[in-house]
Symmetry: C2
Amino acid sequence: MVVLPKKALRPRTVGRLSIYRRVLNQLLENGSVHIFSRDLATLAGVSASQVRQDLMNVPACGTPQHGYSAIELLLSVNRCLGTTTRASTVLLGAGHLGQAILAHFQATQPDLEMKAVFEVDPALVGQRLHNITILPLTDLEYQLRLIKAKVAILAVPSNVAQILAEQLVNAGICSILNFTPIRLQLPQHVYVEDNDIQTSLERVAYYATAPMNQGVNA
Amino acid sequence: MVVLPKKALRPRTVGRLSIYRRVLNQLLENGSVHIFSRDLATLAGVSASQVRQDLMNVPACGTPQHGYSAIELLLSVNRCLGTTTRASTVLLGAGHLGQAILAHFQATQPDLEMKAVFEVDPALVGQRLHNITILPLTDLEYQLRLIKAKVAILAVPSNVAQILAEQLVNAGICSILNFTPIRLQLPQHVYVEDNDIQTSLERVAYYATAPMNQGVNA
């Protein structure tokens, strides 16, 4: 369980603010200049009261009654999410999942700067992926300190997830996106976001079969 | 909120059983024949009492005291998760994220049979991805009924997610893996698994910056 300081936003709030930001970007691209919280709510797929509550975390630039300037609200959300600097990020695992994540990463340009990719398989080490050379895992802690990495994306086999995560934390990583199914045991100051695609796929498979369909509305 | 029938396992239980299955497969590959629940717990990263509670859903083939035959436990978990038939599955969205998901899908072979990929961009329609021809979204409902699709993976832009999800449900889809950030409003019998990679990335970026690091342990 991560202990959040009083001033930090809760993970769900951060998630929704990042969705609002995407909606606002889309609106601005489409030429909108003004937005009401109820419209933002509809476009983000959440309730209007949830939007109003979330926007209390964002320095005021409008009101629920009179609406918001789309560009000012976007800039304010950006400041709130701290996107003025892009955190140095590394990817562990250049296998199939790692490559897919890196490709998605490069295409969507999140608030992260990908600095290095590490991999244990000697056949992959030395190759280049999206202009980044794949490094061996043996150099991990040294390299992490060298590039002052703060964020790591973990896309390695389950059996090495915990030991690598401990090395990451030793070398200064404070935020981990964990694509393995392992629940990492790490110090409380480290934020871990679990995203297990394999388990997601197996769950939708399960609920597509008999138990879910029979008598669900009974 | 999905209403689960009495006999259906809860989503978190399904997720853990799918993790146990991966651990058991790994153990069998490494030559293990017998396993204790406490070892399964360690390897899966959960507590021993959680494993014992989960295995109460699996037809008995051992006990916590005497351990389990790894192969019998694996087969029993497989039966429990209903993996004797692979549900017909479609992917909506052949953009960058869709292609990454499909590649991951093909590599890991989940309990799903990918039958079709749909895309709105005319430049992509007609191309082949991993031996599957990309179809236009205009044919969606007709094609879904034709192939008796039960599962859909949604990797489309946010602004079309809700309307496409409604078409999916009209055509018989009962389980959706939603990679968009939109919270879909759908009938209760439909299972929706949300997996928003973009939001995951933005959350780890947020917690890598000042608010999370200051005074976390204060």
